[in-house]
C-alpha cells in the first residue's frame, strides 16, 4: 500500500523526514510501555511506523495551535515541547513540558474538537504524526494492532488524568459529606 508524503496542513514549513519507519528505535521506546496488556511484536511496531510520517521542527516552531482544527496525534521523538493553554483571562499557562516519547494532540484525534492547547518546540524537535485517517485504516486492516495503539493512547491519557486531577483538587472548595 502507498503512504502519503504530502505535508500535513500547518507543517509545510517544517522539514519532512519521511516515514516513521526510519525511527524504529525511537518508536520502540514508546510502544514498549504496554506492560499490562500484550505488547507490540517487532513486526507490529514496524507496521505501526509505516502509518506515520515524521517532521522536524525548529526551536520556536508551533506544532499545534490552541483553538484550531486538527485530527492527528504527535509523538515526540527528540527535543522538547512546551504545552501552553490560555486560561480564559488572556494569560498563557504552561500546562506541561513533553520530551521524547511524549504524546501531543491525542484529545482532538479522539473527539474531533479543536486543539485544547498550543505546543511549541523549545528545542529542535523531531516528531511522528498519526492522523485519524491512518488510525481508521489500521483499525480496518489490522484490528489487533489497532487495539495496541489504542491501549497505548489510553495509558498515556490515564497517566495525564491522574496527574491533572490531583493538581485540580485544591480548586475544589467544598468537602464531600
Amino acid at each position: 500500500m502507498s503512504h502519503s508524503v504530502t505535508p500535513l496542513l500547518g507543517f509545510e514549513h517544517m522539514t519532512q523526514l519521511g516515514s516513521a519507519s526510519g525511527y524504529l528505535d525511537e518508536i520502540y521506546e514508546v510502544v514498549k510501555a504496554l506492560s499490562l496488556f500484550e505488547g507490540f511484536s517487532v513486526s507490529e511496531y514496524s507496521k505501526f511506523c509505516e502509518y506515520m510520517s515524521c517532521y522536524g521542527a525548529l526551536r520556536g516552531d508551533t506544532i499545534l495551535n490552541e483553538g484550531t482544527e486538527g485530527s492527528f496525534l504527535v509523538i515526540v521523538l527528540t527535543g522538547q515541547v512546551d504545552v501552553m493553554k490560555n486560561d480564559g483571562t488572556g494569560r498563557r499557562k504552561l500546562v506541561t513540558r513533553v520530551g521524547p516519547g511524549g504524546f501531543l494532540g491525542e484529545m482532538s484525534l479522539i473527539d474531533g474538537r479543536q486543539r485544547f492547547a498550543s505546543c511549541v518546540a523549545t528545542q529542535p524537535t523531531d516528531f511522528a504524526v498519526l492522523t485519524r485517517d491512518k488510525l481508521n485504516t489500521i483499525m480496518l486492516e489490522y484490528p489487533r494492532l489497532a487495539n495496541k495503539v489504542l491501549l497505548l493512547v489510553l495509558q498515556l491519557m490515564t497517566s495525564r488524568l491522574r496527574d491533572t486531577t490531583t493538581r485540580m483538587l485544591p480548586t475544589i472548595v467544598s468537602e464531600a459529606i
Copy 2:
C-alpha cells in the same frame, strides 16, 4: 462460551443482576456516543453486553474504594454516584458526580494501579462491570469490537481530561513566556 456469575470481590453484599444482556437499552445509550468513528452494530453491542455482569448498589454503598486494588470498569446504568478523593491533607473532595451512562474505574482498568478515588452510590444504582480479563478476551476473540470498546473509553477519558485540565489551570502560578 460461558460467562462467570461469581460476584466480584467487594461486591458480595450487592444484588447480582446477571449479564448486561438484560440491559441492552441502557448500554445502547452509552455506546451510541461513538460518532467520529464507526459505531457499534446491534450485534456488536449485544455481544459487548455478554461480557459484562450487572450489580445493584443501595444508597450509601461504596462501589470503588480509593487506594485499593481492582482492575475493572464500571458503567452506571441507573442512579447516581459521587466520586470523592482524599486531597492529601485528610479532606475528602467531591471530584465529580456521575449518572446513567457514566464510567467509573477506567484508570485502574488501563494502568493496573490502585483506585484513584472512591465512588459511593448516592441513590440506588445499577451498574455493569467490565473486567480486564473480559476486555482481554474481547481483544482476542473480537478485535474489531475491542477497537470500539477502547475508543469509547478513550472518548470518555478525553472529555474528562479537557474538563480537569481546565479546572486545574488556576493552580498554575507562572505564565508561559
